[in-house]
C-alpha cells in the first residue's frame, strides 16, 4: 500500500509514535501498581519466612515455590479470572496490575529474604541486647540495612516487571504492546510499530535502572575515607 514511503514516512512516524505513547501512561501505571504491591506482599512473605517460625516459614516457602514455578502469563490468566470474576470484579487494568504484582511478590520475596540473611543474626542480637523487642529490632535495625542491600537486585526485578507489564495486553489493557499490535494490524507496518514499542520500553527500563543506581549510590554507607 505504501509504494513510496519517503514522503509519508515522517508524518506516519509521528502518528505512530503519538498513538503508542498514549499506551505508555498505562504501562507506567501498571508497573506503578504491580511493583509496590509486589514489594509489600514480598516483604511480608520474606519476614514471615525469616522470622515466622516453623509452619509460617513452610507456607511462605511453598508460596514462593508455586509462584516462581509457573510462567507469569499462565498465572496472570488464572489470577485475572479470579480478580475479575463474580466475587471480586475489578477492571482489566486493576486485575492485571494486581495479578502482575502477585507474581512479582514471589521474586521480590526471595530478593528481600537474601538481604535479610545478609544483614545477619548479630545485628538482631545486638538490638535485643539493648532491650529492643523483636519487632523494634526488625523495624529500626535489620530492615534499614536489608533494604539498602536489596536495591541492586531489586532494580533488576523492577525492570522485569516493567517489561512483563506487556503481558497484560493479553487481558485487553491498551498499553504499549497492545497499541503497537493494533497499529501493526491496521497499517501493515509491523517493523515500525513494534520498533517504536521496543524503543519506548528500552527508554523506560534504562531510566528505571539509572534512577535505582542513583538511589543505591545515595544510600550507600560510608566506609574508610
Amino acid at each position: 500500500m505504501l509504494r513510496s514511503p519517503a514522503p509519508t514516512l515522517y508524518p506516519m512516524l509521528s502518528n505512530f509514535f503519538s498513538y503508542i505513547v498514549q499506551g505508555t501512561a498505562i504501562t507506567i501505571g501498571v508497573t506503578l501498581v504491580a511493583l509496590p504491591f509486589g514489594l509489600l506482599l514480598g516483604l511480608l512473605m520474606a519476614l514471615v519466612h525469616t522470622y515466622g517460625g516453623k509452619i509460617p516459614n513452610r507456607l511462605a516457602a511453598i508460596y514462593s515455590l508455586l509462584l516462581r514455578g509457573v510462567p507469569p502469563i499462565v498465572l496472570l490468566f488464572i489470577l485475572y479470572f479470579i480478580l475479575s470474576g463474580k466475587v471480586i470484579n475489578l477492571t482489566p487494568f486493576w486485575a492485571g496490575s494486581l495479578s502482575l504484582g502477585i507474581v512479582s511478590s514471589a521474586y521480590q520475596m526471595e530478593i528481600l529474604r537474601g538481604a535479610l540473611l545478609a544483614v545477619g543474626g548479630g545485628q538482631m542480637t545486638a538490638a535485643r541486647a539493648i532491650g529492643m523487642s523483636r519487632l523494634q529490632a526488625i523495624q529500626t535495625i535489620v530492615l534499614p540495612q536489608a533494604l539498602r542491600l536489596a536495591i541492586p537486585p531489586w532494580s533488576n526485578e523492577a525492570s522485569i516487571v516493567l517489561k512483563d507489564s506487556s503481558l497484560v495486553y493479553a487481558l485487553g489493557v491498551p498499553e504499549i504492546l497492545r497499541r503497537a499490535q493494533q497499529l501493526s494490524a491496521t497499517t501493515q507496518q509491523p517493523f515500525l510499530a513494534y520498533g517504536i514499542a521496543a524503543l519506548i520500553y528500552f527508554v523506560l527500563v534504562f531510566a528505571t535502572n539509572r534512577a535505582l543506581d542513583y538511589l543505591s549510590e545515595r544510600t550507600k554507607l560510608p566506609t574508610h575515607p
Binding site: G122, Q123, A129, G131, I141, Q145
Partner: protein, 258 residues
C-alpha cells in the same frame, strides 16, 4: 553483707546431648569486677548469653536485684535494658553513626526525647574518648573505636551490670589497650562487670575476683593473687601458666593495664 546484684543458682545449659555448662553458682556484688577465664568451648560466652536471656537456660535460675529474671512471664526486654552486653565482634548497627548507635536505645527503648538522648549519648561517647567521632559510621572507625562505641551504647542504658564477651579477641594487638583502658576506668568507677577474656594482665590488675571455668563448671574462684600465686587446683595452675607464657611478652610490652 548486702545481697549480690546478680546471682546464678545451678544455672544449666544443654544443647541436645551436649552439656554446655551445669550447676553454675555465681554471685556478683555491686561494684565488683569479675573476670571469667578458661579454655575455649567451656561455655563462658553461653553463660553470659543465658544471664541476659539472649539464650534460654535448661535449669537453674538467674536473679537480678533479688528478682528472678528467669521466671516464667518475666519481661526479657526489660531485663536486657538493665544488663549491658559487649560482644566479641562489636556488632555496632552498621547503618547508624556512632552517636545514633548510642542514642537509639534511649529514643526507641527508653522513649527519651531526642535532645535529651543526644546529650546523654554524647556524654557516653565522651566517657570512652570518642566524642570527636560522633558522626562517623562504623565502617569509618577502627576495631578499637567500634568496640568503645559499643561499650558506650551499652552504658547509655544505665545498666545495673555490664557483661563483656571477649571484648578484645577480635582486635589487632595494638588496639586492645584502648579498649582495656576504657574497661579499667569503668571498673575504677565501680561499675559492676562480668568479663570473659583471655587478657591475663587485665584479669590480674583489674579483677576483684577471677573465676576459672572448664568443661562447663567452675573449677576455682578467688582473688587474682590467690589464683595466680596460690591456685588450689593443678588444672588452674596449668592453664594460667600456659596462657601467661603465651601472652606474657605482649603484656610486658604494653606495660599491663593501669
Amino acid at each position: 553483707m548486702t545481697n549480690p546484684i546478680l546471682e546464678t543458682r545451678n544455672l544449666t545449659k544443654i544443647y541436645g546431648q551436649n552439656v554446655i555448662f551445669k550447676d553454675i553458682n555465681l554471685k556478683v556484688n555491686e561494684g565488683e569486677t569479675i573476670v571469667i577465664i578458661g579454655p575455649s568451648g567451656t561455655g563462658k560466652s553461653t553463660l553470659l548469653r543465658c544471664i541476659n536471656l539472649l539464650t534460654s537456660n535448661d535449669g537453674g535460675q538467674v536473679f537480678l536485684d533479688d528478682k528472678e529474671i528467669t521466671a516464667k512471664g518475666h519481661n526479657a526486654d526489660e531485663v536486657r535494658q538493665q544488663i549491658g552486653m559487649v560482644f566479641q565482634n562489636f556488632l555496632l548497627f552498621n547503618h547508624l553513626t556512632a552517636l545514633d548507635n548510642v542514642m537509639i536505645g534511649l529514643t526507641k527503648v527508653k522513649k527519651m526525647p531526642k535532645d535529651k538522648a543526644k546529650e546523654k549519648a554524647m556524654e557516653e561517647l565522651n566517657r570512652v574518648g570518642l566524642a570527636d567521632r560522633a558522626d562517623h559510621y562504623p565502617g569509618q572507625l577502627s576495631g578499637g573505636q567500634q568496640q568503645r562505641v559499643a561499650i558506650a551504647r551499652a552504658l547509655a542504658m544505665d545498666p545495673r551490670v555490664m557483661l563483656f564477651d571477649e571484648p578484645t579477641s577480635a582486635l589487632d594487638p595494638e588496639l586492645i589497650g584502648e579498649v582495656l583502658g576504657v574497661m579499667a576506668k569503668l571498673a575504677k568507677d565501680r561499675m559492676t562487670m562480668l568479663v570473659v577474656t583471655h587478657e591475663m594482665g587485665f584479669a590480674r590488675e583489674v579483677a576483684d575476683r577471677i573465676v576459672f571455668m572448664e568443661k562447663g563448671s567452675i573449677v576455682e574462684e578467688g582473688s587474682p593473687d590467690d589464683l595466680f600465686y596460690h591456685p588450689k587446683h593443678d588444672r588452674t595452675r596449668e592453664f594460667l601458666w600456659k596462657i601467661t607464657e603465651l601472652y606474657g611478652k605482649k603484656e610486658k610490652e604494653k606495660g599491663a593495664v593501669e
